[in-house]
């Protein structure tokens, strides 16, 4: 799920250093302790405790991929930087009445949004029922009138749903496995069909392989306005239909919603990390990148091709 920033979060990082960038700000931590390990239909799941944190990892051979970090003393803490950026969609959506997350993991982003926007309907969809169980057992998630977790494939959930959402967040590209059917034009078309008027799609895609270029091309083929937020190695892309938003309009909405919701990670501060993506700019997106479709989506191959050093992204 967590792509590059988390890709290096193998067991050692997860347990010994957490995120290198934020390590110095952390309170003193206790030794790591395995709370529970489970083998589910989809993952080998290990939940570690390192006081005050609980860490969700998925195992893949001897490599563990950190999926979620939960501060047990503060359920509104977003320890991993990109999960803060995942909230950027709030300053784009015309209205904020309902939010969907595809790929719950430990549920930090969706729970953060639920805590700060208690009147907004938040739905989070997670493929793995055991991950859902762990998120309830160790990560403080619980069903509340405006907070719901569904254990289902994200695309299947959307294609069977008639609901529309103002913000749809996609964070389902875990560790080494990329579900191709969540990266195709047909998938994004289904996502778009479930956007309310003026809605926005926010997603986290690794930026270090050709999969990033293909993903940008593909989402750009469905939603013409494409932007990204970058902090160190964390990328979060924002896509929407209609005319491009002006930075001053975004700033005005950000200021208003920061105040209205009392957000801990202010939207206004994220604007400095904003950049527009032009999928036609071959300096930015490889000319070789093609739109992925249900028919042709070689995601495993693309994920194995490192991006050449070009101008960012």
């Amino acid at each position: 799920m967590f792509i590059r920033s988390i890709f290096f979060s193998t067991l050692a990082i997860a347990l010994l250093g957490l995120d290198a960038a934020s390590a110095q700000n952390l309170p003193p931590m206790g030794p790591p302790r395995l709370l529970e390990s489970r083998e589910s239909l989809y993952n080998n799941i290990y939940v570690y405790e390192r006081t005050p944190y609980v860490i969700l990892t998925f195992g893949h051979n001897k490599q563990l991929y950190t999926e979620s970090v939960f501060n047990t003393g503060d359920d509104r803490d977003l320890e991993i930087v990109y999960t803060q950026l995942m909230t950027a969609g709030l300053m784009y959506a015309r209205n904020v009445r309902s939010i969907l997350e595809i790929g719950t993991g430990g549920g930090r982003t969706s729970w953060y949004l639920h805590r700060f926007l208690p009147d907004i309907r938040v739905t989070s969809v997670e493929l793995d029922p055991v991950v859902v169980e762990m998120s309830r057992k160790y990560f403080g998630l619980r069903d509340e009138p405006n907070f719901r977790i569904e254990a289902q494939d994200g695309r299947l959930f959307l294609s069977q749903s008639k609901d529309k959402y103002d913000v749809i967040m996609i964070d389902a590209y875990r560790g080494p496995f990329v579900p191709f059917h969540l990266l195709t034009k047909e998938f994004y078309q289904i996502v778009k069909d479930h956007l309310a008027e003026g809605g926005v799609v926010v997603q986290n895609v690794a930026s270090d392989t050709m999969l990033f270029d293909a993903a940008m091309k593909t989402i750009g083929a469905v939603l013409p306005q494409l932007e990204y937020y970058k902090n160190d190695d964390n990328y979060v892309t924002v896509a929407y239909d209609g005319a491009a938003r002006k930075v001053e309009d975004l700033a005005a909405v950000a200021a208003e919603r920061d105040k209205a919701y009392g957000l801990r990670y202010p939207l206004a501060a994220m604007l400095a990390m904003r950049k527009r993506v032009d999928p036609g700019d071959t300096g930015m997106i490889s000319a070789k990148a093609t739109v992925l479709t249900d028919d042709f989506a070689p995601v495993e191959t693309l994920k194995n091709i490192e991006r050449h050093n070009r101008k960012q992204p």
Binding site: L41, Y42, L127, R155, L156, S159, Q160, D295, P298, T301
Partner: protein, 205 residues
């Protein structure tokens, strides 16, 4: 005797190629099903069990055919029908999958029928090949075991080749629909080879 010998290379070639298409199409099945039913182990279990069911039915049907009319014409026709089925898949799969999703929802109650709709008919037809091929190549009872072992061995090597080629070469380079058309064309060529090779009467018995 000479007729048997001249037919043997074609039979072994087709055992290899149709074995490759069989497993290649199973791998492709995942590309047709995942967008509708999700990419979990449940979808794979459905695909694999339908493939094995198809083979079981094909083997039984093949052994029944061996008792009646085990000719190269029969297996040629079976392979040709399988080729036609594959040729129809790219244009119709989305409608069928959408229909099953709409009617039956998700889970095994939907992924099993979806796998069956895609794979059952063509793979059952391909499954009839091996027993009939063994019958055509066997001249006397004492060599039946040796022939059967060779046919199944060659066919299984074809399975391996088809799995690897489809997964690591074809899916990353051309689309699933085009791969399906290629498989249909390859099967049609196999059928043509069987139907156009001079027919022979069973010499045994």
């Amino acid at each position: 005797m000479t007729l048997v010998r001249s037919l043997a290379p074609a039979i072994y070639l087709i055992a290899f190629v149709s074995g490759g298409v069989l497993m290649g199409f199973e791998m492709l099945g995942s590309r047709y099903l995942f967008p509708y039913f999700g990419g979990g182990i449940g979808t794979w279990a459905s695909l694999i069990s339908v493939v094995l069911c198809a083979l079981a039915i094909g083997y039984f049907a093949g052994s029944a055919i061996v008792d009646r009319d085990p000719s190269q014409r029969t297996i040629g026709a079976a392979i040709l029908v399988a080729a036609c089925w594959l040729a129809l898949v790219p244009a119709t799969a989305d409608t069928v999958m959408q229909g099953i999703l709409g009617q039956l929802g998700a889970g095994p109650a939907a992924t099993l029928p979806a796998s069956a709709a895609l794979l059952l008919v063509p793979l059952t037809l391909l499954g009839t090949f091996s027993p009939i091929a063994v019958s055509l190549l066997t001249r006397s009872a004492h060599e039946a075991g040796r022939v059967a072992g060779r046919v199944y061995g060659v066919s299984t090597i074809g399975n391996v080749a088809g799995t690897l080629l489809t997964t690591f070469v074809l899916i990353p380079s051309i689309g699933s629909r085009n791969i399906t058309y290629i498989f249909a064309a390859v099967l049609a060529a196999c059928a043509a080879l069987l139907l156009m090779t001079p027919a022979r009467r069973q010499t045994g018995g």
